[in-house]
């Protein structure tokens, strides 16, 4: 699905990513963890083709990412960004329809209207359909954006979905729902790549976790392989306790008290 080979990126002279290699397959949810400034967002931008790598390359669905035409790429991958404010206001229905823009020229086809209806049901925003986007709460706005992003790749069941800190600013229930939806998408065959801050969310929902530190790969593997004292200390520079919990295959991570350190 996505193969990253020896990927590096430079901002000025600073190396933001250093010889990073990994792969993500269809039907897999890959979580990216790392401290602030570890290069998570840069990696995401490179994977979405917002940035061009300095060295190395990204193979997306068997072809070099840079060789895709933008409209062609838009039908195979969609991105949910963190920033969701818009200056002019749109009706929710129209905003979700924007996800279908790569699929029609001037007027939406019946299929486009149908997909918009379906994704709005999936994300539970049907009742907001006629509302003005700017009058919605942060959580509602996030779900509208998610619906738009899903509409974009709805017809391509092995497309790639990028989520940049999708649980940011959401309450506990919405966080849970967001991650469950991401999980469902992966189970349907999509390749979901997701930047997360919450290690427990990552270990619970992801198939694979990639840990980054200063642009380098610390570890990659299944949650059970990767979640360890050593890796977490190396990635976040904090000590944690790992606690087994009933119903969770992977131990829960709890930050250790800093004051109690000798």
């Amino acid at each position: 699905m996505i193969e990253v080979n020896e990927l590096s990126y430079l901002a000025g002279k600073k190396e933001l990513l250093r010889r990073l290699s990994f792969e993500a397959r269809s039907g897999e949810l890959l979580a990216i963890l790392g401290a602030n400034g570890a290069g998570k967002s840069t990696l995401m931008k490179l994977l979405c083709r917002e940035l061009v790598p300095a060295h190395g390359h990204i193979i997306f669905r068997g072809k070099n990412l840079q060789q895709y035409k933008l409209p062609e790429l838009a039908k195979q991958r969609a991105v949910l960004s963190q920033q969701n404010t818009i200056s002019v206001s749109f009706i929710v229905n129209e905003l979700v329809m924007m996800g279908r823009y790569p699929h029609f020229e001037q007027l939406p086809a019946l299929r486009d209207i149908e997909v918009v209806k379906l994704v709005m049901e999936d994300t539970g925003i049907t009742h907001l359909s006629g509302r003005d986007y700017n009058t919605l709460s942060g959580g509602e706005q996030q779900r509208v954006q998610l619906a738009r992003v899903l509409a974009q790749i709805y017809d391509c069941p092995d497309a790639c979905l990028f989520l940049d800190e999708p649980t940011n600013g959401l309450d506990l229930l919405y966080q849970q729902q967001m991650m469950e939806l991401a999980r469902r998408m992966a189970d349907k065959g999509y390749c979901v790549i997701c930047i997360l801050h919450d290690i427990n969310f990552a270990s619970r929902f992801a198939d694979k976790i990639l840990m980054l530190k200063e642009g380098r790969k610390v570890a990659i593997g299944s949650p059970l392989e990767v979640i360890s004292h050593k890796n977490i200390f190396e990635t976040f520079s904090i000590n944690v306790k790992l606690m087994a919990c009933e119903g969770y295959s992977c131990p829960l991570v709890i930050p250790a008290m800093i004051q109690n350190k000798p």
Binding site: L70, V88, F90, N93
Partner: protein, 348 residues
Amino acid sequence: MTRKNAYILTSLLVLLVGTMILSSCIGAVKISINELLAILGNQAGLSYPVTFRPQQAAILLNIRLPRVFLGVLIGAGLGISGAAVQGLFRNPLAEPGLIGISSGATLFAVLMIVLEVGLFRSLSGAMGFYALSFAAFAGACITTTVVYRLSVRNGRTVTTTLLLSGIAINALAGAFTGLLTYMATDEQLRTITFWSLGSLGGASWATVTGLLPFIVIPVAGLPLMAKSLNALALGDAEALHMGIDVRHLKRVIIVLATVAVGASVAVAGTIGFIGLIVPHILRMTFTADNRLVIPGSAILGATLLTLADLLARTIVVPAELPIGILTALIGTPVFLYIIITERNKNKI
């Protein structure tokens, strides 16, 4: 949704045609609708059972109609460029003047008027009346190119930089214009003032046909960008993720807006407000969907400017008010009214 847009656009078109007829009929010499049809029918070779005086025909065909069409073209050009530039900057306060189009045109026009440089003399020799228009258009293109070049970094247009360099270049052009105004003689001052307030007084079929391509191309091209501009409203990155070549989009919009506004300013001087308020009126009364706002701004802009020109030439007969004054006089209260109703609506 889209059917609703089609209804709105059709009603706006009807309104425009009505305004054009009204504006053709009213003036120092009155022409009734029947007489108007008779004169036009006569031109087309049809006989019509209404008589009219030859003087009426001469005035309609040689003075009034070209003026009405010039108003329609310029209004459409200013309106649609305003809508497109606001979409480009994702800012409802933006207007084409912001990227240096008007200030550049003014500077070059004033330069020509005041310095009467050798080049201008030879230009005048070759092009006569059009020399000033040509200079203004060239000025618009030069300043906009400078502003655009300043804002491109690593092949990407940075919107904030575009705005800031626009402000800087506008200030610079304004300063030079001020300097030239200071140096100007009384007679030159009059020309400058009249030019900078705008007027459709120079209308003739030659100006109309000369301006036509500069307006038709943007008016036909910009509505095709409406979908992309909607996507751009979500952000540069989001538009890119939706498969839109943002760099190309920005360049095309800037070029088309410069062509329309530059040519309009060149022919009629600077006419403010149309580009700013027309898109607003549509956005606040109907929707922010650019598929309506962009073509709608062309039609409504044409209507408003035709109406303003009708007032400009009838309100102080036999003299004539500069149209720029009128667009601001009518535009401001309408604009304020919309802002206030919108504010009250949001409060509830």
